[in-house]
């Protein structure tokens, strides 16, 4: 018996280490993203074979002007923007869940996107009131920066309200998020009410939540903010891992917790603010992608964050393609697609974790 016991207890040297598994998933997701990028560049309502044009161009030969325009002036910025927005949404979801130590925290659910949205609306409606000097400096960056500030303020406020002595109350977080969302919604309503016709057009266009308006300019404006946010991942990974044991223990483990939390909040605000500014509110990416990944590779942020970025980007590009194709030649707002997939998935997660999650 004792010999048998010993045999059972001896585990293979890699037991408990999900690193190799995560590496495989990382490579798969990178490959998926590459496929989605090629598909996103070439699939759509245009008639010509863009795939062939793309390969022709890649092999260094000339392609037609029409193909060139569609590929590089329309599809390329849209694809890049879609990938960046998807990565930002997924990563800000994962970071926020790590920060709040809860798999339900998501910028869309707890009012951060609403805060960023309010920032953007403020910039559109009241941007004209800015002192000329500031307006000139901020220029086309006004809306993304305002959205970032709105997202930052609401994340900070939410964290202050929901976290006492290093413990986050999920009930308080969700309730405060609802209150915050309602409040920002009301203020946004007032702003829309006082907006003039021109501003209303801007607002409607922005509020559609679509990647359709993607241009190189938009990419130039929002891209740096999103890349900045994504670049904090390596630093945040260790801290968020430690934080799963609680704030006090994270500090005992040598993590400068206060600085780490500030960076996490700024990351969420940057990523959410920039994506809201360019694409309106796209829900559920931040909750579906990290959750799905935790089920397959475990919760270690060293892998969770970068793979979330890859999968989030691939997921949003796929959703964008569906939104372009499903009612072609017209387009569905992409938020509808992500909500159609994300809503039921979210309910499924809730059902599965009932009794496990202590809300």
């Amino acid at each position: 018996m004792a010999i048998l016991d010993a045999g059972i207890r001896l585990s293979p040297p890699q037991a408990g280490d999900r690193g190799p598994q995560a590496l495989v998933v990382l490579i798969l997701c990178a490959a998926l993203l590459l496929m989605m990028i090629i598909a996103s560049l070439t699939v759509g309502a245009s008639g010509t074979s863009l795939l062939q044009a793309l390969f022709t161009w890649a092999s260094g030969e000339q392609i037609g002007l029409r193909e060139k325009v569609i590929l590089f002036d329309i599809r390329a910025p849209r694809t890049l923007l879609g990938a960046l927005v998807g990565a930002s949404l997924a990563v800000s979801g994962a970071v926020m869940q790590g920060l709040f130590r809860n798999p339900l925290a998501d910028p869309g659910l707890v009012g951060v996107s609403a805060g960023a949205g309010l920032g953007a609306i403020l910039a559109i409606v009241l941007g004209g009131l800015l002192p000329a000097g500031i307006a000139a400096v901020a220029g086309m960056y006004t809306i993304p920066i305002a959205a970032f500030l709105g997202g930052w303020a609401s994340t900070l406020l939410l964290y202050r309200i929901a976290t006492r002595k290093g413990r986050t109350s999920v009930a308080v977080m969700l309730l405060a998020g609802i209150a915050l969302g309602a409040l920002t919604g009301a203020i946004a309503g007032v702003l829309v009410y006082i907006a003039d016709d021109n501003q209303l057009r801007d607002l409607t266009f922005w509020g559609l939540g679509s990647l359709a308006g993607a241009t190189w300019t938009k990419l130039l404006v929002a891209g740096p903010l999103m890349i900045l946010a994504l670049s904090t991942m390596p630093f945040l990974a260790r801290g968020l891992d430690a934080l799963t044991l609680g704030e006090a223990t994270a500090w005992h483990l040598g993590i400068p917790v206060q600085r780490m939390k500030n960076i996490a909040i700024l990351t969420v605000a940057c990523a959410t603010g920039a994506s809201v500014a360019v694409s309106g509110g796209i829900g559920f990416v931040g909750i579906v992608v990290p959750h799905l990944l935790r089920l397959t590779i475990g919760p270690s942020h060293k892998f969770l964050l970068p793979i979330s970025a890859l999968l989030g980007a691939a997921f949003l590009l796929a959703a964008d393609m569906v939104s372009r194709v499903i009612v072609a030649p017209s387009e569905l707002p992409i938020g509808i697609i992500t909500a159609t997939i994300g809503g039921p998935f979210f309910l499924f997660v809730l059902l599965r974790s009932r009794g496990v999650l202590d809300i």
């Binding site: 207890r9 999900r18 223990t249 483990l253 040598g254 919760p299």
Partner: protein, 262 residues
């Protein structure tokens, strides 16, 4: 040497600790005992730099408040009384969190060796949440052990702060864990442990601090602290202390005196 002088801690508006003095030595296991709510955890948290306090706490002649988190983490590890885990890590992943600051040894075999130490060899791939209470406690202890694996580093002692390290363990694992603490101290490290089991304390601790109502009642070696009067006074129940002679020394052991037995 860990020297805490005149420590006062207030939580909210309530004063919890009132001018507590405490000393812990490298090479010793120093136990903190006392009834529930007497301030043991609070004192430990003050000494690990987790709670604000007035007074002075010196860890090897350095003010604890002045040591930044990463440097402190390289010198001392802390086992909290209640450790939670927000996401479903495996046992191995939890233990690896002890290496997260990358300050101690970079030896990647450490987590497995630590798990073996606490009797959890073979549990590496299990989910932490699927462990029993005692197994979770030992898993957390393994995480603490990998953080300051060497009892001394660069001629300086490492420190373990353990808040009730054996509260959920059976007698076999209690002894196993206390012997780990003992050998850490014997090799030059310092161990500060909050304890409830007075007999284990008597067997393993070089020095004992007895607390009541946020105050120090007495500190000294087992024979000095564990007396009928001290214990009956602090715990509000009648106990009798006998002494068991062993090969090395006399170990006091505590017999509760109860009116209604069986």
């Amino acid at each position: 040497m860990l020297i805490a002088t005149n420590i006062n801690v207030s939580l909210g508006k309530t004063a919890i600790l009132h001018g507590v003095n405490f000393e812990g030595q490298a090479g010793h296991v120093t136990a903190i005992v006392g009834p529930n709510g007497s301030g043991k955890t609070t004192l430990l948290k003050a000494m690990t730099g987790e709670l604000p306090y007035t007074g002075s706490i010196l860890l090897d002649q350095e003010d604890v408040k002045a040591i930044p988190a990463p440097a402190l983490a390289a010198r001392r590890a802390v086992l909290p009384q209640n450790a939670g885990l927000a996401f479903p890590f495996t046992v191995l992943e939890v233990v690896r969190l002890g290496l997260i600051a990358g300050l101690g040894s970079n030896d990647s075999t450490l987590p497995r060796r630590a798990l073996e130490h606490v009797g959890l060899a073979g549990y590496e791939g299990r989910l932490y949440h699927a462990l029993s209470g005692g197994e979770q406690q030992r898993c957390q202890l393994a995480r603490v052990l990998v953080q300051v694996w060497e009892p001394t580093r660069d001629g300086k002692p490492s420190w373990l702060f353990l808040d009730e390290p054996v509260s959920a363990l059976d007698i076999g694992h209690q002894l196993e864990v206390m012997e780990i603490a003992r050998s850490f101290a014997n090799n030059g490290g310092g161990v500060i442990a909050v304890m409830h089991d007075l007999n284990l304390t008597s067997m393993f601790a070089d020095r004992i601090l007895l607390m009541k109502n946020g105050r120090r009642v007495v500190q000294g070696d087992a024979q000095h602290v564990l007396t009928d009067d001290h214990l009956s006074g602090a715990y509000g129940c009648r106990v009798r202390v006998n002494v068991a002679p062993t090969q090395h020394c006399h170990v006091p052991y505590i017999l509760p005196q109860v009116a209604n037995l069986r």
